[in-house]
Amino acid sequence: MTNIPIDAGLRTSGRSFDAWKFFGRYGALLVLGLMIVVVATLEPDTFATRDNAINILNQSALAAIIAMGLTFPLVAGEFDLSIGYNASLAGIVACTLMVDSGASIPVAFALAILGGAVIGLVNGLVVTGLGVNALVATLGVGTVVVGINYAIAGGLPVSVGEEAFIDITLGRFLGIPYPVYMMIVLAAILWVVLNRTVLGQSMQAVGGNPVAARLSGIRVDRIRVIVFIICGMCAALTGVLLASRTGNASVNGGDGYLLNAFAAAFFGSAVLRDGQFHIIGTIIGVVTVSVGFNAIALIGLGTYWQYLFQGTLLILGVGVATVARRRAG
């Protein structure tokens, strides 16, 4: 490279390229770091503490699990709008099994997550078998899930007073709540699946170019079904953990995760990589939103700042990265 003469303009362009590329990849991380520094300065006694750091990670855990699951369909170029409803149903199913049928906690957990897998399977089959667009298919399946949810619970919340169930999310090991460990272990597993297995490479190939993937011998439809199943299972796990955290499952308890999970995944796509969805990015997206929510609560900012923050975070996080990539070349 050093032997090739280049003019000054290209030199400038080269420097500019590096700056944009750096900003595109690390800008979101810089924002997170800057937020932490600013809030730590504002609230040194409450924000910059070990307890609050654990608190933020704990708050991020459930959202991270559902968002990591969502990352799989997004990697494969699909959408899943049923995740929030799926999470709500899983909580209701698990709690109803325990309260009405006397099921043990592991059985209730397993059946609820199996239910999530079935919902994912149905999503995948509707998309691949019937050829329905994923947005429409998952919206339709999600609406059916709401109906099932009401059919099971009749709209009533289901309370579980069993301490062992509540301790799944409230218990701690070495001072750190269990959900944080669950998030980390699941992140490691999903990262390996997505980045170090043939299955994960196939998912990325399908998301990159489904036609080329098919011509390369990848069974595209099967991959699509699998990503929906993984997503459904993660959503269901989140729903059951939410029921444990609140001691209660409500018919719409998990619905709010839908937009937050999408926001985190899209924000995460702007972290470290050039617009690709990935597990680490999604976690950073979730943590960034949690840090913002925590900061707003601790500083005591007005309600409207929450919406301004979340919207601005998503638009600028993804927008700046997009511009940076375009400018970079």
Binding site: G27, A28, V31, L34, M35, V38, V39, T41, L42, T46, T49, D51, N52, N55, N58, Q59, L62, Y150, G154, G155, L156, P157, S159, I166, T169, L170, L242, R245, T246, G247, N248, S250, V251, N252, G253, G256, F267, S290, F293, N294, I296, A297, L298, I299, G300, L301, G302, T303, Y304, W305, Q306, L308, F309, T312, L313, L314, I315, L316, G317, V320
Partner: protein
Amino acid sequence: MRLRMIGAVALAAASVLAAGCGSDDGDGESASTSASDEKYSIGIVGFSAADQTSEQAIAGIKATAKEKGYEVTSVDPQGSTDKAVAAMQDLVQKNVDMLVVTVFPSDAMTAGVRAAKAAGIPVVSLSGGTADGVQVNYDAGEPQGKMVADQLVKDTGGKGKLLALGYKSGLPCIGREKALDAAIGATEIQQTRNEVPIPGQVEASTQFTQAWLAKNPDVGDGLAVWGCFDDPALGAIAAIKQGNREGVKVYGVNGQPGAVKAIQDGDMDGTVYLKVFEAGQQIAENTGKVVEAGVDAEPEDVPIPSDLITPENVDAFVEENPDALKGL
């Protein structure tokens, strides 16, 4: 405060730089002055900024807290249980003296309530019920439901057909429906019930009412619609107007401005006006008492002050409470 303002501006700058957040305490969420001996800090977990009733209660807390020089921090969990629990945990980190949680059922806030109890912070609920760790509940369910249900039975003479638009996921609605069932249990009223979704409560109520009216084309004065809060009642009014039906009685609860106006206009027959601003003021007023009683205090239910509004007293009521139409 100045440090906070400077920091807030820096936070805003972070937002503009590359996807950050922002800034000052805008509407005075953190109000700190000096007035009385004890200065408390109150943490409020709202329900949703779009929910008029809980926002009025929060405004009442802030108003009295400001007079007393208490610091108030409020968080909007946007209707999400998980965010509400997170907000409680954040406010525990902030080490407030008392927590106020609005609308969310107390038994669905386990993680937050336990964190508060462990930190020795008493919790007051607005309509969420008492629980272990929630010492005081301002009730907006059964007492208010009884007021409007009794009026409904009186107006209908205990006869005819009733469409009940309920919401079983909300504790106040459960209490109100219980009162309705008790009131009509001994009458000849035939009830049809529909569960109202939130969000989408007004539109769904319109659709339920349209279908119910279509099934009951000629009953005339023998029809009544009951909403467990005012939005479903307002949705029903839309259906009644679209169907050009007359004589159908409509009832709600909460006394939101649209409902009060509907009673003035002759479209609605009753609602219960919750004096939630007053309840909020009481909550702030009693902060010292609640803090002193601590987390092991005996649970207590306090009815939210309420007025029944009917076509007969609506004008006098509005004259006395001009704010009841605020926002229209």
